[in-house]
Amino acid sequence: MLVVSFLAFMLVRLAPGGPFEQERELESAEAKRLLREKYLLDESLPRQYFHYLGQLLQGDLGNSIKHPNHSVNDIIAQGLPVSILLGGLAFMFSLFWGVVIGSVSAVARHGGVRALADSAAMMSICVPALVIGPLLIMIFAIQLRWLPVAMLDSPLHLILPVLTLGIYYAGRVGRLTHQGVLTTLQSEFVIAARAKGLRETTILIRHVLPTGLMPVISYSGPLLADLLTGSFVAENLFQIPGIGVFLVQSSLNRDFPLIVGLALVYALLLVVLNLLVDLSYRLVDPRIRQD
C-alpha cells in the first residue's frame, strides 16, 4: 500500500497542467499564493508526500481540489457503497451465468446447445459494454418502457446497469469454466466416479465443478476488485453515483488527492480480495483441504 500511495502520489504530478488551471484566471496573486499554500503545492514533493502519509495514518485522505466542499473521504463514502452494490450484483450475475453457460458448453452432448452456449460466451466477450449498454437502454427502457433509463431511484434501476457491467465478465467466466470443466472431465477420479455408476449430473456438480472452477476462483479476486471499484462506462451510461466515474474525472481534473485516494482504495480491495480468494480455495477444492 505504501508503494501504491508513493507511485500514485508522484505519477499524477507528471501530467501537464495543474488542478488550478481555469478558463478564468485568478486575478489576485495573493489568492493564488494562498491556494497553493492550502494544498502545500509549493513544498517539495517529498515533504508533500510525508505530510500526506501523516494524514493517511489518521484515516484522512485529504480534500478534493475539484470539489472543494467535499473531502476525499466524503466522496468515497458516498460512491463506494453504490459501486459495491452494483459491482456485487454484477459479480453474482457474471459468476452464475458464466458457470451455467461454461458448464453447458463443456458437457452438452447436443451440438446445437453446445454451439449456442459457446456463442453466448463469445458474444459476451466480444461486444463491449459501450455497445451493450445503449442497446439494452434502447430495447428495454425506450422502446418497451419496462425498465428505467438511468439514475438510481429504485432496485429496478439496477437491472440494466448490472447486465451491462456483468455480461462481459459472464463471458470470461464462461470460457474459464468451459476449459476447467473439460480438463477435469478427463481426470482419473471422474472416470472412477463413472465406473462406480454415479449419475452424470451428480458427477458434474459434486466432483467436476469444485475442481473445474479453480481457474474461475483465481480470476474472481481481480474480477471482484474490478467490479467493486466501479465502472466508468456503466456508471456514466446510467448516471449511477459510484466511484467509477471519479477514477476518470479525477485524472482529467488533476485532482491529486482524489486520484491517490481512489488508487489506494482500489489497491486495498485488490489485496483483500486476492487474500479471500486464496482462503476460498480451501472451501472449494477437496485436495487443498486434505493437504
Binding site: Q22, S28, P68, N69, D74, M92, R254
Partner: protein, 541 residues
Amino acid sequence: MRLRIGSLAPCLALTVLTACGSLTVPPADLVIVNGKEPESLDPAIISGQADGRVVSSLFEGLTRYNARTGNPEPGLATEWSVSDGGKEYRFRIRENLSWSDGSPLTIQDIVYSWRRVLEPATVCEYAGILYSVHNARAYHHGQLKDFRKVGLRIVSPNELVVTLNHPTPFFPEICAFPVLATVPRQPIEQHGDRWLLQPGIPTSGAFTLRSWRLNDRIRLRKNPHYWDQENTRSEVVDLLPTSDPGVALNLYETEVVDIIWDKELIPAELVRTFLQRADFHVTDNLGVFFLRINTTQAPFHDRRVRQALALAIDRERIVNKITGAGERSATSLVPPGIPGYAPPQGLGHDPERARELLRLAGFPGGEGLQPIDYLYNSSRLNEKIAIEIQSMWQNQLGIKTELRPLEWKSYLKDQRELRYGVSRSSWMGDYLDPLTFLDVFGSHNGNNRTGWRNSTYDSLLAQAERNNDATGRMARLRQAETLLVSEEIPIIPLYFNIAMEGYRSDRVKGIWPNFRAEHPVRAIYRSEPASETTAPTPARQ
C-alpha cells in the same frame, strides 16, 4: 465445522435486498438536467453557470434576476437610490428577513458575504466583479488589510451604502450575481470547506438544500421562511448533474426529467432535428466563440497577418454547415443586444483583401510562412471548426495549419503560457454591459492570453469607466472594441452562442426566454397532467 459456500448465499442475498430496499427515492415535483456537476455550491467559489443556477436558488443577494426579463429586481433589498454622479448606491434592506431555519438575517450577514468574496483566502474566481467598489481591488490583492476602508458602510440596521470608484450603471445587476449572495456565517466558520454538507444549513434564497450527492442529484426543498415564499412554485426540485448528452436526452425523452437547459447536452449531429421540435427553445445569449492569436510570436506580431487570417474566414459557412443551431456569425466580440450599445462591424469575409494584406506583410500566397499551430480543447465541435478553418486558410491564403487538440487542463496551460499560434476560445458575459467582454483584453488582465498589450485600448476602457454620461461611456467602449476587432485583431470572433432549452410548454410553466438565459427555479413548476401518450416510467411511481 466446515463452512459451505451454500450457507453464504442467503446472507449475501439478504445484504443485497437490504441495500436495494434503501434505494427508493421519493419523486420530486420538478426535475431539471442542469449540466455538469457543480464544483461547489458555495457562492464565493462557484465557477460556472451550472453552479450558479443552484446557488441562486439557495442564496440571494441584494437583488435577484426577474424570471421574465432576467433584469435585476429587488431581492434582500427592497429598493435602492443612486447619488454622487452614479458613484454611491444606497440599498434599503427588507424588514424581518429570516434564514431558512427561522433565525434573523441581518445586514451584517450581507456585508460578511461580500467581505468573504474579497478575502484572498476564499480564492473567489469572480472577486473581480466587485472591483468597482472603492478599495475592493486593493483588499482582494492583500494590499489593504483594513476592511473598514472598503466602500461598504452600514448606516442603519436597514441601510447599506456602497461607494464605487466610478459610475457603474450595471451595479444592481452585479448585486444579483450569485457570487454575492448572502451566506450564513456560523456554519462556515464552524465547518470550513465542508459547511455545505452539514444537514439543515440555513439558506437565504427560495430553497433549502435537502441533499447533495455527487453525480446523482441536488435536491432542493422550498424555504418556508423566504420573504417571497408564496411565489416559489415547486415544493421539491431535483437538479441532475448530467454531462453526457445521451443520458440527458434519454431521461428527457422518457419524461423522467422536465427540462434540459444546457446546449452542450444536445449532440451537434441532432441539433437540426431538435430545432424542428416545438419543445426545444432557442434564444440568443451572452456568449461568443472566437480565436485568440498569439501576438508575441512571428509572424502574428504583424497585424496585417492577423487581419489576413480574419478576412479569410467565412463565418457564415461555419454557422450554417457546422454549428447549425441558429448561431449568428460574429465580427465583433460583444454580442448585439446589450441596451444602448451597437457593436462595431469588424472584419468580415474578404479573401481578396486578405491575400493583399498577406502580400504586403511579405508572405505572398503564404510563401515563407511556417504552418500555424492551432490549439483547441478536444471536442467534436471544436475539431470540425478547426478543420474548416484549416481548409479556408489553405485555400484562400496558401497557409498550412497544424491542428493540436489537447485535453482541457493541458489546453488551458498552453494557452496561458502562450504556447500556441492560434487558439480556440470562448467567453460568457457576467452582466449586460460591453465591459464584461472588453475588459478581458486589457493589458493587465490575466484572461487576455494573447500577449497583446495596447495602451490606447486600456486608456479607452479607463475613460469609459470614468464617464458619467451613458452615451459617452458606450461611445468609448465602442472605440475600444473597434480597435480590437477591426484594426489590431488579437482575436478573431467567429459566432455568438445561443441557449437551447428543452421543455414542453404545456407541461412546464414559469420559463421565459431572455438574453441572460436566467430562469430562476423559484418560478418554474410542472403543470399536470403530463402527456397521456407516454407511459409512466418507473422513476415517476
